[in-house]
Amino acid sequence: MLIITCPWCGARPEVEFRYGGEAHIARPADPSALTDAEWADFLYNRTNPKGLHAERWRHIHGCGRYFNALRDTVSDFFVTTYKAGEKRPDIDASSGGSK
């Protein structure tokens, strides 16, 4: 079973977690000023990278908190996890993402 490290609770089995989509996507401050294309881009378009991906996870059957994770989409390896609100750690795909 995949082990995910919750920033609050520590290493936990994956069945306690739920995926929450791509991280660091801020809602536009003034949606009515956006064109339809820009709004659609915010709503639907995601980066879908091959390699490191910053994404939200929720420790739903634990502390209940959302946090962010850097996961390699090729190997499914969690490079690191960090609390919601913190900046994305400066890690590139070559530093251990393909374990």
Binding site: W8, G10, R12, H61, G62, C63, R65
Partner: protein
């Protein structure tokens, strides 16, 4: 006309584990006990309200992740960075609720009486951790899950709060509609031992 006593009796709280506990076999390696009624309050609050809430409850709210404090037969379980489950076995929830509300008046917080939401199960004995691990993937060794630890987790498909009171004594708090499911799966795991 209906007898008033009969009406009251029909409104007595349902005991989801009553029949199951009565039919349960005694097994010293993994004793299973349905715990009695308790006052349960869920407290969530910002920094300023945490101290006063603990004082009013009589047990300080633990600030370390996944730990609980106990005193005077009451327990304060850490469930999240701003969330605690306050458990007082055998107590009436209303006076506790009022006392904590009074102590935290004006401070941002939420206090909810969830006494009727869940029921307690105690699992004790040498094989208690083994039995739990049939439906729970956590490492229950004393290094990874020491005495004094509590956490929300899962048992098969049900969410539970799991507490370790002693090396071989666990307390499970489970939502009452899931209680027979958890109980029967614990019984199923115990079957291997006798």
């Amino acid at each position: 006309m209906v007898e008033s006593a009969a009406v009251t009796a029909s409104l007595a709280p349902a005991r989801p584990l009553g029949a199951l506990a009565a039919a349960s076999r005694v097994l010293p390696a993994a004793r299973l006990t349905a715990l009695g009624d308790a006052a349960r309050l869920v407290f969530r609050g910002r920094e300023a309200a945490i101290g006063p809430a603990g004082e009013a409850f009589g047990v300080a709210l633990p600030r370390e992740a996944c730990r609980f404090n106990a005193g005077n037969g009451r327990f304060a379980f850490w469930l999240g960075p701003d969330e605690w489950l306050l458990l007082a076995p055998g107590a009436e929830p209303a006076p506790l609720f009022a006392a904590i509300e009074a102590a935290t008046a004006g401070l941002p917080h939420s206090l909810v009486d969830v006494s009727a939401r869940s029921v307690g199960i105690e699992l004790a004995g040498d094989k208690a951790a083994f039995v739990l691990n049939q439906g729970n993937p956590l490492d229950l060794s004393l290094d990874a899950f020491p005495v004094g630890m509590c956490t929300r987790t899962v048992f098969h498909k049900a969410e539970i709060v799991l507490v370790r009171h002693a090396p071989d004594v666990f307390h499970i708090d489970v939502w009452r509609s899931f209680a027979p499911y958890v109980w029967e799966l614990l019984e199923d795991a115990r079957r291997e031992l006798a």
